[in-house]
């Protein structure tokens, strides 16, 4: 799954550590999500969407085969 997390974070001028603190996760978790190596759980995806005041589908884009 692709996502716009890195772009949205950059718009807020937050570092990965800043975002991690706001989401109450580790910096490695933010990094893994941004690079598309890890898909967050639904509760975490909702927390991300809430933080950026967007809908989940505006942040996370499913792969075409899904």
């Amino acid at each position: 799954m692709k996502n716009r997390l890195k772009v949205l974070r950059a718009e807020q001028d937050w570092s990965q550590a800043d975002l991690a603190e706001r989401l109450n996760v580790s910096r490695q978790t933010v990094n893994a999500i941004e690079t598309g190596k890890y898909d967050p759980s639904l509760p975490l995806a909702f927390r991300i969407a809430e933080l950026f005041e967007k809908r989940i589908e505006e942040i996370f884009i499913p792969d075409k085969e899904n």
């Binding site: 580790s26 893994a32 190596k37």
Partner: protein, 132 residues
């Protein structure tokens, strides 16, 4: 995270607990190898590492519970690698015992368990490589 969990997940607590476990194990080994104790006492000494290990287990669980979902996944995958590797190691040792007379002083279960944390760290290294 509550105060109790915070205390349990501190680095110093982890180091002290792990060191206590290893020390109790080494002391038990030394007593059993070098002293003629009564049979009942030998059993008590042999079982003595259970106490620090129980505390170590509580510490591990507290650490896992304070991890975020990604770290839990990483550690779960590390275990998913380490567990079959441990089975393989024990299976091969069992088979080799049938073929080669292995001296108990060189190879026995008391030697094998020490490799299990190593297998876990191998699993962890593979998993981290995949995600980072």
């Amino acid at each position: 995270m509550n105060k109790f969990t915070q205390r349990l997940t501190g680095k110093s607590v982890a180091i002290i607990t792990a060191a206590t476990w290893v020390l109790v194990y080494l002391l038990a080994r030394w007593l059993l190898d070098n002293h003629q104790l009564q049979e009942g006492l030998r059993v008590v000494v042999a079982l003595s590492p259970i106490v620090p290990f129980a505390f170590f287990l509580v510490l591990v669980l507290a650490n896992i519970r304070q991890m975020d979902e990604f770290h839990r996944k990483v550690h779960l995958e590390a275990l998913a690698i380490a567990y079959p590797l441990a089975m393989l190691l024990l299976m091969l040792l069992g088979l080799l015992e049938l073929v080669i007379p292995l001296a108990p002083e060189d190879w026995s279960y008391r030697h094998v368990w020490q490799f299990l944390p190593l297998l876990y760290f191998i699993g962890l290294a593979f998993t981290w490589r995949r995600y980072l």
